[in-house]
């Protein structure tokens, strides 16, 4: 199901890492979108997208953790003993997640209650773990950060799309502002519940697939 993750910019041999950065960014959001294309880390995606605002905050959390953990894993990549590298990665990721969670509880209390345990579950998110292992361990910090940003943005964009539709059809609102008035639109409660999430997610991925065209081998420079 997945395309190959971007190879290390050091081993590709051509082009500067800066140019690679822009390509990495585009890949993370479109060609290799972690949610729509690789279909990883969907747990949090489905749970928090019942409102657009929740999706946006979760997207932000994701970007923060993704960039931070990629950066740190990359900084320490030459020092982490091979045997405990997974646990070390998890520890770094968990630290960033908890930091975000604590600050959320302190400065955006209502949102913290809405997101509940799902912020904590970013720790087990396959995407972040996967990128730390596949990319950050082999690449210098700056590019790793861009990779983290790319994946984070790709994730956040999909979350926002799903959240937008679920809130719109499930409650008639967008970010709390009523768009579909309850006078003439009976909100589809199923959209706010679990089945709606699966459904919208399926449609979004299908749309991505349709727009991308049939599977093609991407030329790696």
């Amino acid at each position: 199901m997945a395309n190959n993750p971007s190879p290390s910019c050091m081993t590709s041999g051509t082009g500067s890492c800066g140019g690679r950065g822009l390509l990495t960014l585009k890949e993370g959001i479109w060609a290799n979108n972690p949610l729509a294309i690789q279909v990883l880390g969907i747990c949090s995606a489905l749970a928090v997208t019942n409102r657009l605002e929740n999706s946006l905050v979760m997207g932000l959390a994701f970007i923060f953790v993704s960039v931070g953990s990629n950066m740190f894993v990359s900084l320490l990549r030459k020092h982490i003993p091979h045997r405990i590298r997974m646990i070390a990665e998890v520890a770094i990721i968990a630290t960033f997640v908890i930091l975000f969670d604590q600050f959320l509880k302190a400065f955006y209390w209502d949102m913290s209650k809405q997101l509940g345990p799902y912020v904590g579950l970013i720790i087990t998110n396959c995407i972040i773990m996967g990128r730390a292992e596949a990319f950050a361990l082999q690449n210098p910090p700056l590019v790793s950060m861009v990779d983290g940003l790319a994946n984070g943005l790709g994730y956040a964009v999909i979350l926002a799309i799903i959240g937008f539709f679920r809130e719109l059809f499930g409650a008639g609102t967008v970010l709390g502002y009523t768009i579909l008035d309850s006078q003439w639109y009976t909100s589809n409660q199923l959209m706010i519940l679990a089945p709606g999430a699966f459904f919208v997610m399926g449609i979004v991925i299908a749309v991505f697939n349709a727009l991308k065209g049939p599977d093609e081998q991407e030329v790696r420079r």
């Binding site: 003993p81 091979h82 509880k105 209390w109 519940l193």
Partner: protein, 204 residues
């Protein structure tokens, strides 16, 4: 190849650094978190008492409104709030009592507000529950909670306690309609509310 000692030291250093960093962050955010928790509780009390509160009030503003309008004490072992509108020194306009108990899935906590006659319900609010979303979870919805407004905590036969029915069609001044598919949650809510109500009525 790193040897075992290095692995151990690395793991220790990393573990301790993470723990220290997180503890520092927890300490730093702790006063804000405590203020938020308190503000939320206060907001819930103010809302159930129907005290007008601006939507975007800050925690400090909430505390101020609370202090000017509400007197807190304990009655029958439960937190009890009397609403005396600012500027008046009459008898309290309304009362609120906190109720809490075990729901089907997790704790259920809320406030029950009574008019000055201590019998008519001004409203309820359930601010913490872990029930099934879409089913039991509906106890947190306005639709469910609105039903309680104007009801009595005492039946026509003078028995204390409210009843949450299965299905519609039953009436009574202490009867509200339950949620289809959430019988157990409603039963829990009923018993939790009645426990608080019994304590209040006994204490009168």
């Amino acid at each position: 190849m790193k040897n075992n000692a290095y692995t151990l030291i690395f793991a220790l250093v990393m573990g301790i650094s993470c723990a220290l960093l997180l503890t520092a962050a927890a300490e730093f955010t702790s006063p804000y978190r405590a203020a938020n928790a308190k503000a939320e509780e206060i907001r819930n009390v103010l809302n159930v008492l129907n005290v007008s509160v601006p939507d975007d009030a800050s925690p400090d503003e909430l505390v101020e409104i609370f202090n000017k309008n509400v007197v807190q004490k304990t009655k029958a072992g439960l937190p009890f709030y009397s609403f005396v509108p600012e500027g008046t020194s009459n008898a309290p306009e309304a009362y609120a009592v906190q109720f809490e108990g075990q729901g089907l899935w997790g704790p259920i906590k809320g406030f029950l507000a009574l008019e000055s006659d201590m019998k008519t319900i001004r409203g309820i609010t359930i601010y913490e529950q872990e029930e099934t979303p879409g089913l039991g979870g509906e106890i947190a919805s306005e639709r469910f909670q609105e039903q309680f407004m104007g009801k009595s905590i005492v039946s026509e036969q003078r028995e204390p306690g409210i009843r949450i029915t299965r299905g519609s069609g039953q009436f009574g001044r202490n009867v509200v309609e339950g949620i289809t598919g959430a019988t157990m949650t409603c039963e829990k809510v009923e018993s939790i509310l009645n426990e608080a109500i019994t304590k209040i009525v006994e204490d009168l």
